[in-house]
Symmetry: C2
Subunit: 219 residues, 2 copies
Amino acid sequence: MATTSEKPLRKDAERNRRRILDAAAELFAERGLAVTLNDIAHHADVGVGTVYRRFPDKDLLIDALFEERVHELLDLAEQSLECQDAWQGLVEFLEGSLELQARDRGLKQLLLGTPQGCAKVGGVRERIFPIVSALLVRAREEGRVRADVEPGDLAAAQWMVGAILDYSREVRPELWRRYLHVLLRGLSAEATVHDPLPVAALGPQELDSVMSSGALARR
Amino acid sequence: MATTSEKPLRKDAERNRRRILDAAAELFAERGLAVTLNDIAHHADVGVGTVYRRFPDKDLLIDALFEERVHELLDLAEQSLECQDAWQGLVEFLEGSLELQARDRGLKQLLLGTPQGCAKVGGVRERIFPIVSALLVRAREEGRVRADVEPGDLAAAQWMVGAILDYSREVRPELWRRYLHVLLRGLSAEATVHDPLPVAALGPQELDSVMSSGALARR
DNA sequence: CGAAAGTGGATAACGACTATCGACTTCAGC
DNA sequence: GCTGAAGTCGATAGTCGTTATCCACTTTCG
């Protein structure tokens, strides 16, 4: 079970493999997982056949690509658990996680969407959940979070902020911070007035452009 | 410019028109705007051709169907503005609006998604915005809402709770109430601890089922 | 009763994507 | 430098789901 033994790829083949991976990373990040293998091939300056030869199944490509990125998230969770102040840790985790998602549409879809295939990635997600739950429980015990907040609420929070990401990514990539803040305030035990909301709300014309940009597809 | 004059439809034609409208209402509500005219035809026990004859363009059908429903929303907004307590009015509006959306996927998509075509519906949406903005401004003046909250935040709130709707509709249709509550608490001037969160958070097994149900499509 | 209006649903036209194949190019080792 | 194994390219065939048309047939209404 060598980690990455297989056969030693020929030099040009290896170069193409990298090109494909790089192109895929770029396209997934900016356009989401829906990009076709054709798109990726063209973007990598490589024939479609080459892509199919190397990654017969798109899920294999996704797995290969995102394994690393997803582990970043796992590290983040573990590191946040170290934090002496559990509330602080929770905030750090959510901010970090959403920051990654803001920078990579594909990652967001992988994390919050359906797992289908992509075994490795799905597995990591399952390992993150208990860690973050522990973080939440601790923050609750420390009296920083409402007593009736539960782990499921953290998933919901990511869904909600994820929606902001989808709608506003083009117009105001940083808008999600504002609503993460609102949400955290809503979940905290004593919601103080102090710290102002980060980043301004969308103005009327920005709202229009979001609405008509078809951020949410339809038919 | 008679409102609905045209030609007086033949009796059977009129009956079919109604059937189509009814079937469309049902399917849009439970499956969203993406249902095909074929689906609608079959569900209405009518030939596909009949549907196309009556509504050459799907947008026309949507317009015809949702004009009324969207006006309900406009009424709701106006009525909420009457409320002496602006905060109360705001809550009523958001709850009412989201309740409608929870019951009708199509309506939700129409309100929060792209307007493309569907002139009438889009117009009403534009009339609602200033009303709700006024409501917000008043609630802010009354000191119930944080001073830095803006009208755009209400749109964002609907996007966020709308995401909860999309994810959890099958598993727990009422879950959105919990997160509207959290959000409102986050936006309110003094977030008191009192009133407990309505409806429980999703448990681990429910989360799994949401994740794997592919609530959010991908490829 | 007959003309006008309306109907059904097989099927053509489409568009987007997935996947294959085989003539051709490149590499690595002798 | 030659050779054959490894690798490449991209036109194109196959699928799938949807939109839209057409016309022989049925229904309505005066």
